[in-house]
């Protein structure tokens, strides 16, 4: 799906770029370090550093610009809502404007902008991770990430398998919701309405079919997995990670350096 919100968690695009070749575990751990960096990001220089880094990342990934960054623009209405929620409900000693429960302030607008920028950065980062890492790669990395859970007697392999399949199914479900949406439009639903409550009401008839479709898919997939001899993730041939090469370690160091820089700026 290329329209709508389908590009938020993009599908893997095979390639042989530096980002594709990195060890999956390094990519996932690097992603988590960068999430921490995004939380620390503040002020013009902090965002400028992150923007330069994202541009370089896009260049290294070899992904088309539209695939790498396009998902950011598809959530524009969401950003507006998030910004307004922060800008109009921030409790400030020095309001610029006040009306009923709404208070517009400089601090509120800065906080709103911060939240929006951070969400947009996380979306680009997660998109790049998903677009350059196969489902098996993601699963291998998740297995490594949740491995310590074994010591708590939790089913680490199963958790990794569930997360991996869930991630893989997101684009499929988004496609399905788009189909349902079009079917509802054909029957008179008004998603294009500018009024928020009308938009929200129009979403309600979509929720039930989307849930039903998700459950049906999950049921069919579990039967197909069983039919192919699946009996729990731990009784399988172990996955082989690509291996932590020099470039994988270097990528982790870069992520750590970005995080440190964001703390210091």
């Amino acid at each position: 799906m290329r329209g709508g919100i389908g590009g938020i968690t993009g599908r893997y695009i095979p390639g042989d770029t530096l980002l594709h070749r990195l060890d999956e575990r390094a990519k996932l751990f690097g992603f988590l370090i960068l999430i921490a960096a995004v939380i620390m990001t503040d002020g013009l220089w902090g965002y400028l550093l992150m923007a330069v880094f994202l541009l370089l990342l896009g260049f290294v990934s070899g992904l088309p610009v539209r695939e790498a960054y396009g998902s950011v623009w598809r959530l524009m209405s969401f950003y507006v809502i998030v910004f307004l929620m922060n800008a109009l409900f921030f409790t400030s000693q020095d309001p610029l404007w006040h009306w009923g429960i709404f208070t517009l302030s400089r601090e509120g607008m800065i906080q709103g902008a911060n939240v929006v920028f951070r969400i947009a950065i996380v979306i680009v980062l997660s998109n790049m991770l998903m677009l350059t890492t196969s489902a098996v790669g993601i699963m291998t990395a998740l297995e490594a990430l949740v491995r310590p859970l074994k010591y708590l007697h939790l089913p680490a392999e199963e958790i990794a398998m569930i997360l991996s399949i869930a991630l893989q199914f997101i684009p499929t479900l988004l496609e399905e919701s788009d189909t349902i949406r079009k079917a509802q439009i054909a029957r008179g639903a008004r998603f294009e309405s500018r009024k928020l409550h009308e938009k929200a009401m129009a979403m309600i008839p979509m929720i039930v079919p989307i849930f039903l479709a998700a459950f049906r898919r999950a049921d069919e997939l579990s039967v197909a997995m069983e039919a192919r001899g699946y009996r729990g993730a731990k009784n399988r041939t172990a996955k082989k990670a690509k291996g932590m090469t020099g470039s994988s370690w270097a990528a982790l160091l870069v992520c750590a350096a970005i995080c440190a820089a964001e703390v210091l700026i």
Partner: protein, 281 residues
């Protein structure tokens, strides 16, 4: 030698109002191509899922590839002997890359990591998908997706292949691709159980088992079962198009009486019979 031997199999789903299967008996010989024919909800898939061990046997007996499915059978071993391709190509892929998905079954059976790539390539070659190893599953056509799913089953080298309405969601081109693969498998001596509600597909089988409301109401060679309009009508099905044309022509007296009276089931057979009757006239 019988590879599947089921006697008086009955089954009811936990919340089911009626019996999904009622004393169904079937025997399938090694290398045989069986079409399980019937309308939706008649119990075809339920029966197939017993053979693969997905559903436990409630009543009756079932012997599959020498394994007693009604005892404490190791379903994991049973599933290695019986491979299944399902209806919806999109809901049976565990991985987004073709080679990773084909390897899924092999990984479940703890096949050595070093052996897996060779087996994956061989399976993809058998279904005519060499070079598709790195392709994304979602970029494949419906027919290709089903062939990739078949490759995942082939990689495990089972004795029996079950196709559970594997062509139902495909366009004509995709259907032809899958049916060609099924015939090629049969040609290589594999045992096939094809579940379908398309009479035109059942024509290709060695034997047809016709099901209605959880019961097997008829079984025999396609020519015997599929040319009986009244019998098929009980299940809401019609004879294949060529058979219907031939029956209509006979009723109108436009073709001479044939002492053999072999009802044509395919377009080729119909054309041949019409040519023969015309030259006879």
């Amino acid at each position: 030698m019988n590879i599947i031997e089921g006697k008086k199999i009955s089954f009811r789903y936990p919340q089911g109002r009626r019996q999904a299967l009622r004393e169904v008996s079937l025997t399938v010989q090694e290398g045989e191509f069986i079409a399980l024919l019937g309308h939706n909800g008649c119990g075809k898939s339920t029966l197939a899922r017993h053979i693969n061990g997905i559903l436990p046997l409630q009543e009756g007996s079932l012997l599959v590839a020498g394994m007693d499915a009604c005892g404490k059978v190791d379903v994991w071993k049973l599933r290695r002997k019986v491979g299944m391709v399902f209806q919806n190509p999109d809901n049976q892929f565990v991985s987004s890359v073709v080679e990773d998905d084909v390897a899924f079954g092999l990984e479940n059976y703890q096949v050595s990591r070093d052996v897996i790539p060779g087996k994956v390539s061989e399976a993809l070659k058998q279904v005519g998908m060499e070079g598709f190893e790195k392709r994304m599953v979602h970029s494949l056509s419906g027919g290709q997706k089903q062939r990739a799913a078949l490759a995942g089953v082939l990689a495990l080298d089972p004795d029996i292949f079950i196709f559970d309405e594997a062509t139902a969601m495909l366009d004509p081109e995709g259907r032809a691709e899958v049916l060609d693969q099924i015939e090629a498998l049969h040609g290589r001596g594999r045992t096939i159980l094809m579940i379908t509600h398309y009479v035109e597909e059942a024509v290709r089988a060695d034997r047809v088992i016709l099901m209605k409301d959880g019961e097997a109401i008829a079984a025999g060679p396609p020519r015997e079962v599929l040319s009986q309009g009244d019998l098929l009508a009980q299940t809401g099905l019609l004879p294949p198009q060529p058979a219907r044309v031939w029956m209509e022509l006979k009723e109108q007296g436009l073709v001479p009486e044939d002492p053999e009276d072999r009802c044509p089931l395919t377009e080729e057979e119909l054309a041949e019979k019409l040519c023969r009757s015309r030259s006879g006239a």
